[in-house]
């Protein structure tokens, strides 16, 4: 789960990491009130889960009330790379002497947290890593040992941090690491990590990704999920406990098991179709879960045909068939369905479907045949329906 900048900063503040003072605002009135409280100059920052806000005009420095009002009005509702701005963060402007970069990544390949530090902050770190790799100090931390003071010094010296800042920067890294483990993050990135003219070290930005599987241990973080950043179908699926990802096409997809569903999307694309979604009905789905899934898939108005691709393991094909029959009764779909059932209780599932004789449902013997059929039906359904 990705956090907005201000949510990340509030998380940092709870762990004793210095951040500029600020307030979130969802309306122009709230933004002006926040700016009046914080004082001028202040920064009005768009809160969206995408980089490049500054270039898109989503970050402005306001020197008085009129400017704060103007910028908040401009930025709220703005579209940045497809993300609508629902909130702004009003923050006290910072005096910047130096801009550094710090991050901690859950490194899957090395199976250890990777801490990185550079004096070349404020810019694209991938470019720094590529052009001047020696400018990016890197260190893997043993997860059972944890971050030690010497790790901080080692990184700071390697990155070329000035002598008077070795200890403060090391202490900052230790606090970021403590946040990373305590909050169970997959990524913490601070770019820029600034040094003020008074030589104070502060996090001027915060990019935080949390582990969704660990949210049960962090109810405060779980509550930060922002439905306004999800699309309608994804929100609906989330509420129903389904694993759904919205895509751009017009063929609705339902399968069981993440790998098989990903493979189904690929096979449909190879057959010339465009999948509308990823939907994993999961292991052991019962009939009501299938009804729920059909409702989510069909709530996307773009869907012109639906493919069910099931290889039953824990999932029983007769349950899937029952669910589909019930879904036809409840939802009354008008688009064609192609169904492929194999695996546990497949014979019974196919028999139930044949008996029900649902309108607009075709069965297919193989995954490839099912994909070809659904692509053909989606292309023709505008005429046929």
């Amino acid at each position: 789960m990705d956090l907005l900048e201000y949510q990340g900063k509030q998380l940092f503040a709870r762990h004793g990491i210095p951040v500029p003072s600020g307030k979130p605002a969802a309306t122009v009135e709230e933004a002006v009130a926040a700016a009046e409280e914080i004082g001028y100059p202040c920064v009005v920052k768009a809160q969206v889960l995408i980089g490049g806000r500054g270039k898109a005009g989503g970050v402005k420095l306001a020197k008085d009330r009129a400017e704060a009002e103007q910028y908040a009005a401009d930025i709220l509702g703005m579209d940045i790379k497809g993300f609508t701005v629902h909130e702004v963060w009003i923050e006290a402007a910072s005096d910047i002497a130096e801009e550094y970069y710090a991050s901690i990544v859950f490194d899957r390949a090395a199976k250890a947290p990777l801490v990185m530090l550079s004096t070349q902050g404020g810019m694209d770190i991938e470019e720094v890593a590529e052009k001047t790799p020696q400018a990016l100090a890197r260190l893997h931390v043993d997860p059972l040992l944890g971050f030690q003071d010497f790790h901080g010094r080692k990184l700071a010296f390697a990155a070329g941090i000035p002598a008077d800042l070795i200890r403060p920067v090391g202490a900052m890294l230790a606090k970021l690491y403590a946040t990373f483990t305590a909050e169970e993050a997959m990524l913490i990135e601070v770019n820029p990590l600034i040094v003020t003219p008074e030589r104070d070290v502060r996090a001027l930005d915060a990019k935080v990704t949390l582990d969704g599987n660990a949210l049960y241990r962090h109810p405060d973080n779980a509550a930060l999920r922002d439905p306004s950043n999800e699309d309608e179908q994804e929100q609906m699926a989330h509420e129903r406990g389904l694993t759904y990802v919205k895509l751009d096409g017009d063929i609705g997809i339902l399968g069981n098991g993440a790998g098989l569903v990903m493979s189904t999307l690929d096979v449909v694309a190879q057959a010339g179709g465009a999948p509308a979604n990823f939907l994993d009905a999961g292991g052991g789905s019962k009939a009501d879960a299938i009804v729920s899934a059909v409702e989510v898939i069909l709530s996307d108005a773009k869907v012109r045909a639906v493919l069910f691709n099931i290889f039953g393991g824990i999932t029983r094909c007769d349950e899937v068939a029952k669910g589909l029959i019930e879904a036809f009764d409840v939802v009354k779909p008008t688009v064609p369905f192609v169904v492929r059932l194999d695996g546990t209780n497949d014979v019974e599932g196919r028999r139930l479907l044949a008996e029900a004789n649902l309108p607009n449902v075709t069965t297919a013997a193989t995954m490839n045949e099912a994909a070809a059929k659904v692509v053909e039906l989606a292309a023709g359904s505008g005429v046929a329906a």
Binding site: F106, R108, A109, K111, A112, P113, E126, D142, P143, L144, T181, E184, M186, D211, G212, N213, A214, Y216, R217, T243, V245, L247, G255, N256, G257, A258, G259, L260, V261, M262, S263, L265, D266, V267, A269, Q270, P275, F278, D280, G283, G284, F311, G312, G313, I314, D342, G343, T344, T366, M367, N368
Partner: protein, 291 residues
């Protein structure tokens, strides 16, 4: 021969008294697996359809001679259960549980690497099947028969799909190993491919990967340097958009890293043939075995 589970497997199931635990433990037993014990703290002395239940994994080793553990407890207890199994001297731990926090997996992985002679398969995996010998986990065993194709996969149902395509063409499996879809799998493709390379019954290896991480790329390097048997690969997720988790916690393209295209190219560059669909993957395997 086969790998990891066979007639000598003596299985203890943690979480056996739960509904799913009971269902799958007894299924494994019906298949012929020696399920010698179950563990649920506080329920020691009971039994589940004749399988004795103990309070600790240590007792199941001592009193029932367990040498393999299947972890079937909910995510919040799973890391602890895996560590308990390792502490009890279990050599092979198969974790079916889905949804274990990544930081728990990291601690467990690091600890087990320091514990000699312990192997973890999973978590978030369908288990291991050696047809005709033993089944540990949730793989629908009746769809597979004994044979000479070793399968290693990050996905359960995709494994069934490919295995079934092979079975329809008359081929069976030495073993099917699900390594799971999480960011920190206990065993990698390389760990399992190494076992298949050494297994006399296995003549061909099928590896089924997906987006996210770099395990397939690492396997490609390993195969080129160490594997003499033919390897056929399949990669799922060519159409997955970046930044979205596709069901499996580990299946996410971050920026340009972890794409299906990059993985397929890395494998092909090392001479591994990659099927574009599960069907084509099975067809390539068939051609290689018939040649």
């Amino acid at each position: 021969m086969s790998v990891l589970v066979d007639n000598d497997t003596r299985l203890v199931v943690t979480g056996i008294t739960g509904r799913e635990g009971t269902f799958h433990a007894t299924n494994n037993q019906r298949y012929g697996t020696q399920v010698v014990a179950g563990v649920t703290p506080g329920k020691g002395g009971q039994d589940v359809e004749g399988i004795p239940v103990f309070d600790t994994i240590g007792e199941s080793v001592e009193k029932a001679g367990a040498n393999t553990a299947m972890i079937f407890v909910p995510p919040r207890f799973a890391a602890d259960s895996i560590l308990e199994a390792a502490d009890a001297g279990i050599g092979l731990i198969i974790a079916i549980t889905e949804g274990i926090p990544a930081h728990d997996e990291l601690r467990v992985y690091t600890q087990l690497k320091r514990t000699p002679d312990v192997r973890l398969v999973g978590p978030n995996c369908p288990g291991i099947l050696s047809p005709g010998k033993a089944s540990v986990g949730i793989i629908p065993a009746s769809f597979f028969k004994q044979g000479n194709v070793g399968v290693v996969s990050r996905s359960g149902t995709l494994t069934y799909q490919i295995g079934n395509e092979l079975a329809q063409r008359g081929f069976g499996n030495s073993s099917i190993v699900g390594i799971g879809g999480d960011p920190v799998p206990g065993s990698s493709f390389i760990d399992v491919i190494e076992l298949f390379e050494a297994d006399p019954e296995t003549e061909l290896i099928v590896m089924s990967g997906e987006i996210g991480g770099s395990a397939e790329e690492e396997a490609a390097e390993y195969i080129a340097a160490h594997v003499t048997k033919p390897v056929v690969a399949y990669i799922a997720g060519f159409t997955a958009p970046p930044g979205k988790t596709m069901g499996h916690a580990g299946a996410i393209v971050s920026g340009t890293a972890g794409t299906a295209k990059a993985k397929a190219e890395a494998l092909e560059a090392k001479g591994v043939r990659v099927g574009r669909t599960p069907t084509e993957t099975a067809e390539i395997a068939m051609q290689l075995l018939s040649a």
